[in-house]
Amino acid sequence: MIEIKNLRKVFGDKVVINNVSAVMEAGKTNLIIGASGSGKTVFMKCLVGLFEPDEGHILYNGQDFTNMEDEQRKELRQQIGMLFQGSALFDSQTVEQNVMFPLDMFTRLNHHEKLKKVNEVLDRVNLKDANKKFPAEISGGMKKRVGIARAIVLNPRYLFCDEPNSGLDPQTSLVIDKLIHEVTKEFNMTTVINTHDMNSVMEIGDHIIYMYQGEKEWEGSNKQIIYSKSKKLNDFIFASEFLQDVKEMRMIEAEGKAVNGKNGN
């Protein structure tokens, strides 16, 4: 579980994150959504320690990350996996070497054991026969899967995904979303996803935080988002006519079910 208390981050005169508090629970996919420039990426970078917050606290299972010594922070970071927007795979290493890297750095396993573990996670992300390929030789979707494999190879307790669907076609996006959701449940990880993708919001949003101009505007689940009264959230989520139609259909469906339920059908 990650607790965020009154987080604030300022760049020069600009307040990018203003007094944001939230709780990211274990075993759930926690989504941070918002328009470009709303502070999502800065928020996530504060959570993983790539930016230092100016005020507030971030607690990983009760341990205050913001006041940790470097060594403690290093130890905690070994429990964090992160999938980057551009996958951030090491160009000069093969898929196998990329996934093996955290094992090489932080474990004392022999090569055979490491290889076994690498093959297990690559199987888990449905990526076979790509071990010897370089990142430049595989597709965007495969890169994301390698990124997920590398992020989970040390069995982390926390998984962060920065725009995991960017640059992917809708079908591959669904596969990646499903995969992240499954591994979250399987390993009981606290997963935080930064996304613009409305499919992800509807499909895997166990817990959603909507950010608007650096502040938390709304918080809830994908089931609650349809009924949200927040105009800013509705303008953002249901921006197109198509999505508005989907929202109306969903509401009608939900009302129909409620009426049927009352009638005992």
């Binding site: 922070r73 070994q78 992160m82 951030a88 090489d104 932080f106």
Partner: protein
């Protein structure tokens, strides 16, 4: 950013490299990789530059020494000292600033822009120690070796050019080569090599590590790194000559 900001951040980067490695074996592997990239990867250009610089030194020295009162072996003496004191360390390192410096800056710049450095940081790895320290250590190990190779080949190239052009005989060249030799000159060349090795590796590492933006900025950082390294090499060359000679 002012020069002082850059210098301060550069010093902090150097300070940040000194932490206990997360895994000695991985750091050793990275050091060996860098030794290969910097040493073996630059050997070809160093050999070519050294041979030609030695050869041209012999021809130009002979061209300027027109007096019959000066023995031909003096040409070899001048070539030897020029190559050892200046050409082998300084010219080789200026060439290496281009070859190695641009590679270091663009490699780190690309890693920064594509978030590979962030990925390492999040894994709990000190990226300054893991990515920059091995490059500086590898430069310390390999650049003096390259300078020695350049010195030997420069003199050999000078000898070959002198013989092939008929300026002086092998015996005359060897006589001049051995007369009035000061071993300190070799030490001085090595002092220079170590100083330049630090400049060639740390300055491009700084510009690459702190790149912001995209491909265009990586190119700019690479150019700035090479230009700054060359200027710093010439500046350090003067300071060392003024202090030690």
């Amino acid at each position: 950013m002012t020069v002082f900001n850059h210098f301060g951040r550069y010093l902090l980067m150097i300070k940040g490299m000194f932490t206990k490695p997360e895994n000695w074996r991985m750091y050793w592997k990275e050091l060996m990789k860098q030794c290969q990239d910097i040493g073996i990867g630059s050997l070809g250009i160093v050999v070519i530059v050294a041979l030609f610089i030695g050869a041209v030194s012999t021809l130009q020295t002979a061209y300027q020494l027109v007096s019959n009162l000066i023995p031909k072996s003096t040409i070899a003496q001048i070539v030897r000292d020029t190559v050892i004191l200046e050409f082998a360390p300084t010219i080789t390192c200026i060439v290496l600033a281009g070859v190695v410096g641009s590679k270091i800056a663009s490699e780190l710049g690309n890693m920064r822009v594509s978030e590979q450095i962030d990925a390492l940081e999040i894994m709990g790895i000190n990226t300054k120690a893991y990515l920059i320290m091995p490059k500086i250590l590898a430069s310390f190990l390999m650049i003096p070796v390259l300078v020695i190779i350049a010195g030997v080949l420069g003199i050999w190239g000078g000898r070959l050019a002198g013989i092939l052009s008929g300026i002086l005989s092998p015996e005359q060249f060897d006589e001049g080569l051995l007369s009035g030799f000061l071993p300190f000159n070799v030490s001085f060349a090595l002092y220079k090599a170590y100083t330049f090795a630090f400049i060639i590796s740390s300055i491009p590492a700084y510009f690459g590590y702190f790149v912001k933006g995209g491909a265009l900025e990586i190119g700019k950082a690479s150019t700035t790194a090479v230009v700054t390294s060359c200027i710093m090499i010439l500046f350090a060359d003067y300071i060392l000559a003024a202090l030690l000679l």
